[in-house]
């Protein structure tokens, strides 16, 4: 029998080396998250998964599980915080869901739904982020980037390519691609890359396949993300192959 910690009053077992997030998801307890992906090393940047451990707030995706921890997650104080973080991400980029082909399959949007976020609340920053349509098969719409670095990580760690990178600092931080021209067509990206699958929002898109799923049949039309994420969770890290959390590459 493995050790356990308490999550919102329930005992959660964990294996050595697991984080609070990994153990919680494996045991069927959902903690909202955006930059965490079961196949990648925890990143800890979006802070949606913030929990209270023995009264102190921390990101659950990077917090090592320890026996006897007292963790709070599904409490109004933290859900209010998560709503504000989702609102901040919506205010930071240009997220125009009605015209986005990722709508219905978008993690940011699904989080907003699940947390009952009705509006951005903040003043929109409306940044100028030109799209990159240079590649014959792939479109990059930077307007929707939430800077989770999943594509950066996938391209580097799985594809061994470094197609994506971050540039700038603070609110000017943005995604760039690895070519002297700065255009995607001059990189070595391929449709079969892992980096093509992992974008939680609508930045990295395959051309000519948009809106293929009718409304009502998209990923988060059927079930809220709190239910979907649990299906994706038990996968082991680093096993490669396809992941339920990623888009079907076919």
């Amino acid at each position: 029998m493995s050790d356990t910690f308490q999550l919102d009053g329930a005992a959660v077992p964990f294996e050595p080396g697991q984080t609070v997030m990994q153990a919680a998801l494996a045991a069927g307890h959902y903690i909202p998250h955006l930059c965490y992906h079961p196949e990648f090393k925890p990143h800890g940047s979006c802070k949606l998964c913030t929990i209270k451990v023995n009264g102190r707030t921390t990101a659950s995706c990077t917090m090592p599980a320890e026996a006897g921890l007292s963790v709070e997650s599904d409490i109004e104080e933290l859900n209010a915080l998560r709503r504000t973080l989702v609102q901040m991400l919506f205010a930071e980029g240009n997220h125009f869901c009605p015209s986005c082909e990722k709508s219905g399959n978008c993690v940011l949007q699904a989080l907003g739904y699940d947390l009952e976020v009705h509006a951005t609340g903040f003043r929109h920053l409306y940044p100028d982020r030109p799209i990159d349509a240079s590649h014959p098969d792939i479109l990059l719409d930077f307007n929707r980037c939430v800077l989770c670095e999943l594509c950066v990580r996938a391209s580097s760690e799985v594809d061994g390519k470094n197609v994506f990178a971050l540039a700038g600092r603070g609110i000017t931080k943005h995604l760039i691609v690895n070519s002297e021209s700065g255009l995607l067509k001059d990189t070595d990206i391929a449709l079969t890359d892992k980096a093509m699958e992992v974008c939680p929002v609508g930045v990295i898109l395959k051309k000519r396949v948009g809106f293929s799923q009718p409304i009502g049949e998209r990923r988060y039309d059927q079930r809220p993300i709190s239910a979907q994420a649990l299906d994706d969770a038990p996968r082991q890290t680093g096993t490669g192959g396809s992941c339920a959390a990623c888009e079907d590459p076919s």
Binding site: G44, R123, V146, A165, R169, G170, V177
Partner: protein, 604 residues
């Protein structure tokens, strides 16, 4: 773009590049240091250089932009031949820096943040350059200039217009004073070079750890972690190589004591680092020097060389076989966040200075994921002193939980700004008296991320029990608007946020926007409530200390000086987020209309 097409990239430039890359051993972990040299040489990082570097270091091309764009002093686009940056700390502003910058822009016919059309000059603001006791200050092509006046700005504008090389400018411009006003055990020490090491070498590593632990020494960078405990953890950590890192990225606005220590006590700093190396078993050390103190690089290197020549660094130090240790100086390039130890380590490795996820901590997984002891400049000095004096004598100085002395950087509204060394436990009031401050309204302790104390708290004591401090002590008299002080700090945090985590990246930006709205006279109670909500989000969910403390200036000034905010608020509960009438200006211009219908009132 091919190298040959770039006029700046001719044969001598190529030769220079090859020499540069080979001097750094073609090592990608030296990327930041290489880019800093490229920036100094070319005035920016041309694409041709980026291409060459990516090939020579075997790194993705995008890595160059990835790293360079993180640091304020590195530029991917051509800047002026003369790059003028006005230090924008609140103390510089109080000394008139904004007017001086305007004056210079007028003299040289350009706008802040822009490069002049002839490519001669660019002018802009930069975060505190650590010259608060002799401001207003600026950097010209990375070189610090102090004591700006209208006269001096005029002279500088003339020198720039004449394209006079920086090396021919009056030496007086670059004079940096130590301004030591009060000294104590640290600044008065008369230790001979190597004296501490001699004694420590006989005692051995474990003994050093024991003495430092028993001395009660705590880190002087602000957080106050017990130094002996850190060294012991590093000593006991498993790893192939151990490292010692001196954090001389003195970026907290209002702090300049490390600058003075590196000027006057460089040997003691290096002695402390070598002592630490002996304690933790390190063979390699780094001093991470903030870019603003670039002018100290050559003098510090000379000190290192002298110490090598005296067998105080290098192999078999003081004749002890196996005691090998040397120190390399790395430069920063304008990123406050690199003062955070894990961000500093990332930067040392040639990457963006983004704080790491912790645990693991640097003592077990630091530089190159090896055990690393990172300490502040002053901490290394104090460690050497504690070792020399013995734990009991050292512990007798200061207070129970804060032993030893502390260097305080005093600036702002006082007659005698400069460095003051006190035993811990000194009250705010005593310092104010010593520095000749009158009619003081508030003191900002330990910089923007620290604590703002009002008049009713001047009996509070500096020390980890009460007011922990990294050393900044900015004085504001009753002529100052504390809202403007907080707004300056909020702008600072928004500029310095690394952008890694959502709350800090977006939150500091929105906070800045909201404070600007209040400053413009459009603020309402509603905005104040938003500020308080943002503060809560930043405080509870930010990745590192920057975000978690970014709201402190506002929280503290709101607590003490709420009227300074409320006086600026409209009585309304709500006011638009932007200037309604102003947003019609473009349409008025395009249509030539100016009738009543072409204007908007804020509320009807």
């Amino acid at each position: 773009m091919l190298p040959d097409n770039d006029p700046r990239f001719d044969a001598p430039a190529r030769k220079w590049m090859d020499e540069l890359i080979s001097r750094h051993g073609g090592d990608a972990s030296r990327l930041l240091q290489i880019l800093i040299e490229v920036q100094e040489h070319f005035g920016h990082i041309p694409p041709a250089v980026a291409i060459r570097l990516s090939g020579a270091l075997d790194i993705p091309y995008a890595r160059i932009e990835n790293v360079a764009s993180f640091y304020s002093f590195l530029h991917l686009n051509p800047q002026g031949e003369y790059r003028v940056l006005f230090s924008d700390n609140i103390t510089d502003r109080m000394l008139g820096s904004e007017t001086l910058m305007e004056q210079m822009c007028q003299l040289l016919w350009l706008q802040p943040g822009k490069v002049s059309e002839d490519g001669l000059v660019s002018i802009g603001p930069t975060s505190c350059t650590g010259m608060c006791d002799q401001g207003p200050a600026m950097l010209v092509n990375g070189r610090a200039i102090t004591r700006l006046t209208h006269q001096r700005v005029q002279e500088i504008a003339q020198l720039i217009r004449n394209r006079t090389p920086l090396s021919d400018w009056p030496a007086d411009f670059f004079k940096v004073d130590d301004d030591v006003r009060r000294s104590g055990l640290l600044l008065d020490n008369k230790l001979a070079y190597g004296e501490v090491l001699h004694a420590a070498l006989a005692a051995g590593g474990q003994n050093i750890v024991d003495v430092i632990k028993a001395s009660g020494l705590r880190g002087r960078g602000g957080a106050g972690f017990p130094t002996g405990q850190k060294w012991e953890a590093c000593r006991n950590a498993e790893g192939n190589r151990h490292f010692v890192v001196c954090n001389a990225d003195e970026g907290e606005p209002g702090t300049f004591k490390d600058r003075v220590l590196l000027t006057r006590q460089a040997d003691l700093v290096f002695e402390g680092m070598t002592l630490c190396a002996l304690a933790v078993g390190a063979r390699k050390g780094f001093l991470y020097l903030r870019g603003e103190y670039r002018y100290l690089l050559e003098p510090l290197r000379a000190v290192l060389q002298r110490r090598r020549d005296s067998n105080l660094l290098g192999e078999s130090i003081l004749g002890k076989p196996g005691f090998d240790f040397d120190i390399d100086i790395h430069l920063g390039a304008g990123a406050y966040i690199c003062g955070e130890e894990s961000a500093l380590i990332e930067s040392l490795e040639g990457k963006r200075g983004v704080p790491r996820n912790r645990p693991p901590f640097p003592v077990t997984h630091g530089y190159m994921m090896q055990p690393t002891a990172v300490d502040n400049v002053e901490t290394f000095c104090q460690a050497a002193l504690a070792m020399h004096m013995g734990a009991d004598k050292y512990r007798a100085i200061g207070t129970e939980k804060s032993s030893g002395s502390k260097l305080i950087s005093v600036s702002g509204d006082c007659a005698y700004p400069g460095i003051y060394e006190y035993p811990f436990g000194v009250t705010v009031r005593e310092i104010l008296q010593d520095c000749g401050a009158v009619n003081t309204r508030a003191v900002q302790i330990s910089g923007p991320s620290g604590i703002c104390v009002g008049e009713n708290e001047f009996n509070r004591k500096l020390g980890f029990e009460d007011l922990p401090t990294a050393g900044a002590f900015m004085v504001f008299d009753d002529s100052r608007d504390m809202f403007e002080v907080a707004r300056n700090f909020v702008h600072f945090f928004a500029h310095e946020s690394c952008g890694f985590c959502t709350p800090c990246r977006v939150g500091t930006s929105i906070l800045k926007q909201t404070l600007d709205k209040i400053a413009d006279g459009h603020g309402t109670q509603y905005d104040l409530a938003e500020v308080e909500n943002l503060d809560r989000v930043l405080q509870t969910s930010s990745h590192c200390g920057l975000g978690r403390t970014a709201c402190n200036p506002v929280l503290h000034t709101l607590k003490h000086f709420r009227p300074a905010y409320e006086n600026k608020l409209k009585s309304l509960m709500f006011s638009p987020a932007f200037d309604l009438d102003g947003s019609l200006a473009r349409a008025r211009q395009m249509t030539g209309r100016d009738d009543a219908g072409a204007h908007l009132k804020e509320n009807e």
